[in-house]
Every structure is written in C-alpha cells, then in structure tokens.
C-alpha cells in the first residue's frame, strides 16, 4: 500500500477548485499517476493522493472533490472542508492549498478562492484554461491579480505542462506564509442591505468584492471564437437541431460500444481460446489443467473482455466532457429523468448500460451528487445489456411462435424481444420511484449546473481518462472477478467421482433405451417425434465425443453446483423451472450469457457455442426435447421460456457488475443490496410471468 499523505516529512498540498476547471489534468501534470486512490472512511467520496518530488522535497498532492463553495452542502464538500481544516482522520492538515481557478470564468471561480483566503491557509491560485481564455479574447493581468488577492497566482496550461514548474516553486515557498484577509471584503459586508437573508448578504458582499478585485484586471474583447461559441451553442441547444445532434451523438456513442467493441472482444476471446488450446497441449489432463483453463484462464478472459467497451465509452465521455457537451447532454435529458428522481447526468451512464452495465456504472463517476450516483449505479444493471441478448434471441427463436402481431411485418418474437428491454426500463423506473421515497429519501436535489464553454478536447486528457478507467477496472475489479470465476469452476467441478459418473451415464442409456422400446411396443406412429430425440441421444453415446459430453454433463449434475440446483428446485418450481434450469441459473453467476453454455453441458452437449448457428440449433433441439424427470412432460413451454427471459432481464447474475459496484461505491453493502433486491425482483417477475402465462393457457 502506498504511504498515507503527509508521512515521512512530505509536504501535504490540497488541490481545490470548482468542477470543470481542469483540476484533474493539473493533478496529472503535477503528480502523474495517483499513488493512492480509495475512499474517505465512512463516505463514498473518492480520496485521490499523488506523491511527487520537486527539488528534492516530497510532496503529497490531495485532489479534493470539485466544489463551488466552502459552505458544505454535499458529502463531497464536507470532505473538502474537513481536509482543509485538518479535521479529516488520517489526513494531515495541508501545508498549502492550491486553488484552481478557470480563467474563462474568473468571477465565479474566485468565490471559492475568496473563502479559502479567509481561512488564512498558505494559498496559491492556479489559473487554468488560460489558452482557452485567450482564444475567447479574455486577457488577465496576473501580476495585478496576485497583488489584489494577496497570494501568488500562476498561469498554467496543464496538458502542455506550461507553468507547472512555476507552480511547483510557489508550492515549495508557500508553507508558513499566511495570506492577509481579503482586503475590502469587510467593507463590502458592511455595505450590504441588511433586509436580505444572511446567506444572501454573504453572497452579495463576496461577489461585490470579486467585482472590485477584477475591475481593470480582466479585459474582454469580442473575438471570432467567442461568436463561434455562441453559434455552436445556438445549434446544439436548439429545439430541433439540438435534439437531432444529441440523438446522432448518442446513437454514435452507443453503437460504437455495442458494435465497434465487438471485433476487439472477439480478438480477446480468440486469444484466450488459443492460450487454452496451448495449455491443453502442454499440461497433462486433470484437475490442474482444468483449474488453469476453465478457472483461471476463463476468469482472465472474462475480465479483459470488458476492457474494449470501457475504453471506448470513456474515450467518448472524455471527448464529450472535454468539449463541454457532457453537461449539455445532461441539460437536454434532464426533464426525462426528473420524473424518477434523477437528473440528466444519469442519462449517459444508463444508456451505456444497455451495452454493458460495467462501463455504465463506471461512467456514473461523472455524477457529482452522491445520492444520484448511487441511485444510477443501482439502476444500471436493470438495463438489458448485450450479454442478455443471446439468451433472449435463443429463447425467442426457439419457443415464441413466429406469428404476425397485427401487422405482417411485426412478428411475435420481435415483440417479445422488445418487451424484454422494456421490462428492465419499467422496473428501473419503479425501483427509482420507490428508492427515492425510502432508502434515498431526502429533499429534492437541485439541478444547478454550469454549462462550460465550447473548447477542443485535449487528446492527452482524453487518453489519460481512458487509461485511468481501464487501469482501475483491471487493477481493482480484475483480481476479484478472476477469484469468482475460480470459485464457480470449483463448485461445478467437485465433487468428482468417476464411478458414479459412469453409473449415471449408464442409467441414462438404460432409461432412454427403455423409453424407445416402450414407444416401439405402443406402435403409435405419432410417437415418432418423441422417439427421434431419444434415439439421437442414444446414438450420441456411441461416439467418443458424445460420450465425453455425457460424462461432463453427469459430472456437472453431480457437482456442488448440480446439488445446489436440486436443492433450490422448490424455489424455482413456481417459475416453471426444473432443477436443471435452476442449476444453469446459479452457474451463470459469473456472467449471464454463461447460462446457455451451462444448459448445453447439463443436456450432454459438452461445450456448445450458442452464438453459432450449429451450436444454437443443437441446443434448441435438446431444450425442446427436454422433459421433466420421470415423465414425458416437456420442460420448455412458452411460459417457461418467458419466465426464464424475464428472470434474466432482472437478475444480478453478473459477478463482474457486482464487483464493480463494490469498487465504485467503496462498500460491500451496495453490491449486496443490488444482488438481493434484483434476485428478488427477478424471481417475482419470472413467477408472475409463468403463472399468468399458464393461467392464460399460452
């Protein structure tokens, strides 16, 4: 573990500023990659510390959450104030505060700076986005500003490392100094009309002081960029054009994480398969090879496969954030989400979750408000992700009658598929409605958001965002996800007894043979359809491959997992499932799409590739033929297929998502809440679907 801030004689420097001021890129420019990222004890506020050395002096840079004011209104701001005052346990009082101020918006940014100056802490003001300000025709007399503020002011362009050296010098020189109280602020306070509320009086006085400080220091001249800015704004916030631009942007972003990531994901899967083949060739077959290939390697593949989607989404988000569109997207979509107690900032995380909940949950980092962020994280896994699609497609294709509904072009399977997506959204809306009235109760969250000016995104910043997102996922979530994969492998591989596997396979053979004989003796020609799959399974046992698949199926049915499936059978019966489906549902805990593979193994097909035509049609044939134990009643009917789909639409059978929820919220409570509530919802949804479907005679 990296050392705590301030230990071993390092200077502790707090980095404070409004959101959207380029504070993160200044952090990277000063300290590079953070040496410690975690959560402050007891709150879900990120603690980010970076250690660097300047002129032989160690400096611990604490990145405080973006805040507009030192009058704390959110947990983020409470943390910022506590750290500044040296009241945060485990964090030494800062030796120096660097206040980040956006040069394009100095008037509002100096509000926070004036509050820090009043604390009397050694302060340095870092003036960021100076290049953008220059493009906009804003000129600032930095020397005069420093004189009036009574503290050093350094102009920095963090991505180009301009002014970083000068800022570091000022940081080294600052400790021990104490800026004078803002000159003239008391005089402004005395002037304010006392009929206003106290907080209004304070704000009026502070802004009056800022106006006085900035008079003659900031010069604004109209430039081409400025008018261009307004023209862009006029288009993107236009009722029609703005909506079209927004729809095109979101469609582009969404389809790229849905489709552009696919070739990369296929490449990763292919590489993992290749490694598995290599391992199989080199290792003697047995428990070790199985652990390495089906446990560890499958787990590693299962982790790495998410990286393309995460990287792509954060690439887009960083570009949107960098050019100022992210806030505008939230502005445009706010009305849509207000009804369920969220704000427009949740739109992109939730939309991304239709591709995959993991990047979606990580994208919730862009929501400053803690309550909204948590609520978004709770709702994200309810959006139907791309891993559910193969499950829907297979079941819709196999068990939903392909009949037109109303129009000749609208077919029932397509309608059911759309309904599965709708189920997630509707349930999410209901859950949000309930949560905002229970667990997340409290006063309505104000939506007071800055719409930053347009600027070109900086590639360095964009790539850093991508690197950070992918890196933190691999580092923090990766090992845990691999761990889960190994545990599930062990549960589905043990206990393993050759003799009882042989016995079960032979018992199956005898059972099928007897059933065929009984059908033949009956002489009923209608029984041919029933006879065929039995004969198929019997003759499969005569091939080496078929026998291996049958033995594998028997081994899985006898494993802890199989036993768990039987154990929970009373629980899944009301959903219309037999123990095999229950077993597959449990086995799909590492990832939902695994359910098809597990069904393949349980039904003696070995490893089927349910995504490929051949594998899926073999699986569909087997599923259609499946009967309840000891009867010839079919397991998979339309209500059962529907109940299974609804279950998978709502359940939290995705270990990676739960791990990421744990990492992003900094607590194990939330993944637990997520898992239990979603499993309960999924069960209730599947129960209602099956029971209603059966009652209606589907």
């Amino acid at each position: 573990m990296a050392p705590a801030a301030g230990s071993s004689g390092a200077l502790t420097v707090a980095l404070l500023g409004n959101p959207n001021t380029g504070k993160s890129s200044l952090f990277s420019a000063l300290a590079g990659i953070p040496t410690r990222v975690g959560n402050y004890p007891g709150v879900t506020v990120e603690e980010k510390v970076g250690r660097f050395a300047y002129r032989g002096r160690l400096i611990d840079l604490i990145d405080l959450p973006g805040t507009y004011s030192l009058a704390p209104k959110s947990p983020d701001e409470v943390v910022a104030v506590k750290v500044l005052l040296g009241q945060m346990p485990g964090v030494p009082a800062p030796d120096c505060v660097v206040v980040v101020a956006d040069a394009t918006n100095l008037e509002r940014n100096l509000y926070l700076a004036s509050q820090v100056l009043e604390l009397g802490l050694p302060t340095v003001v870092a003036l960021t986005l100076g290049d953008v300000a220059a493009e906009k025709g804003i000129r600032i007399n930095v020397a005069e500003l420093a004189k009036r503020l009574g503290c050093p002011v350094v102009r920095v362009v963090a991505p180009l490392r301009e002014g970083i050296e000068a800022l570091s010098e000022q940081i080294l020189a600052a400790p021990g100094t104490s800026p004078p109280p803002p000159v003239g602020l008391e005089a402004q306070r005395a002037k304010v009309d006392s009929s206003h509320t106290l907080q209004a009086q304070e704000a009026i006085a502070r802004y009056a002081w800022i106006e006085q400080v900035l008079a003659g220091v900031v010069h604004t001249s109209p430039t081409l960029t400025r008018s261009l800015n307004q023209q862009i704004d006029a288009v993107v916030t236009h009722r029609v054009w703005g909506t079209l631009v927004f729809a095109a942007t979101m469609l582009g972003m969404f389809s790229s994480i849905f489709w552009l990531a696919t070739p990369f994901m296929d490449l990763i899967s292919a590489a993992v398969d290749m490694l598995a083949d290599l391992a199989r060739a080199w290792l003697p077959p047995g428990a070790l090879a199985s652990l390495l290939i089906d446990g560890v390697l499958a787990g590693v593949g299962g982790v790495v496969v998410f990286v393309p989607q995460i990287a792509l989404l954060f690439f887009f988000i960083a570009i949107l954030e960098g050019c100022g569109y992210l806030s505008r997207a939230a502005f445009l979509m706010d009305r849509l989400l207000v009804g369920v107690g969220l704000s427009g900032k949740s739109f992109i995380p939730l939309l991304s979750s239709f591709a995959c909940a993991i990047p979606g949950i990580m994208a919730a980092r862009t929501i400053e408000n803690r309550r909204d962020r948590l609520l978004t994280i709770m709702l994200a896994p309810l959006m139907s992700c791309s891993a559910r699609l193969p499950v829907y497609l297979l079941l819709c294709g196999a068990f939903v009658p392909n009949v037109p509904v109303g129009f000749s072009w609208l077919r029932l399977p397509a309608l059911v598929l759309a309904a599965m997506y709708a189920v997630g959204v509707v349930v999410a809306a209901v859950v949000a409605w309930v949560l905002t009235r229970t667990l997340f109760r409290g006063p309505a969250q104000p939506f007071v958001m800055e719409l930053p000016g347009w600027r070109w995104p900086r590639m360095e910043v964009v790539l850093e965002r991508v690197r950070e997102a992918a890196g933190s996922f691999l580092q923090n979530a990766g090992t845990l996800i691999i761990g889960v994969s190994v545990v599930v492998w062990a549960l589905s591989s043990y206990p393993h007894n050759e003799l009882s596997i042989d016995a079960e396979v032979e018992a199956q053979r005898a059972g099928w043979a007897a059933a065929v004989a009984a059908l033949d003796a009956g002489g009923n020609p209608a029984a041919a359809a029933e006879r065929e799959p039995l004969v198929e399974q019997l003759s499969a046992l005569d091939t080496e491959e078929g026998m291996a698949a049958a033995r594998r199926g028997a081994a899985q049915r006898q494993s802890f997992l199989g036993r768990a499936g039987r154990f929970i059978e009373p629980l899944v019966r009301p959903l219309g499932w037999d123990w095999r489906i229950g077993c597959a549902a449990i086995a799909s805990f590492p990832a939902r799409e695994v359910v098809l593979g597990t069904l393949g193994v349980i039904y003696n097909l070995g490893d089927v590739d349910a995504g490929a035509e051949e594998g899926s049609s073999a699986l569909v044939r087997r599923l259609r033929a499946a009967t309840w134990d000891g009867t010839n009643r079919k397991v998979f009917t339309l209500p059962v297929a529907l109940s299974l789909m609804v279950f998978f639409a709502l359940c939290a059978q995705c270990a990676s998502t739960l791990v990421v929820i744990g990492r992003e919220t900094g607590s194990w409570i939330w993944p637990l809440v997520s898992f239990t509530s979603m499993t309960l919802l999924a069960w209730l949804g599947a129960f209602a679907t099956y029971q209603i479907g059966t009652a209606l005679g589907w």
Partner: protein, 74 residues
Amino acid sequence: MTSLAKVAIGSSAKVTLVNGTDPTAARLLEMGLTPGVNVKVVGTAPLGDPLELEVRGYRLSIRRTEAARVAISR
C-alpha cells in the same frame, strides 16, 4: 413581482431576491444569482425544462422549479 421562470427566452432581467434559506437557495446565490445581478434566459431544453441562463459571464442551467424561487424585476 415576477420570477425568473417566467422570463421569455432571449430576455434579460435583474435578480431582486432568492427565496428561502435552504441549501438550494444558498447554491443559487453562490453560483452568482445574487440580488442586483443581470441574468439572461438564453434558452430551454427541448422538453421545456431546464433553463439555460447567462449570468456573470458564464452559462448556468437550472430547473424551472428553482428559477421560480428567483424573484426578478425587468
């Protein structure tokens, strides 16, 4: 006395008062909507809410419910 929520798009107004003493009122004041300041309503989102304002040289977005608490004079 009328509120910021009723100002037509493209028009400006002068803030006279922010109602209340809760955190939302405090946030509106801190963001620069102090009595005496000039605000321009630049536009609204396609669904009519929230509003886009120009105040103290920058763009600020607030919902109509919040704008309703900001009293103005023309």
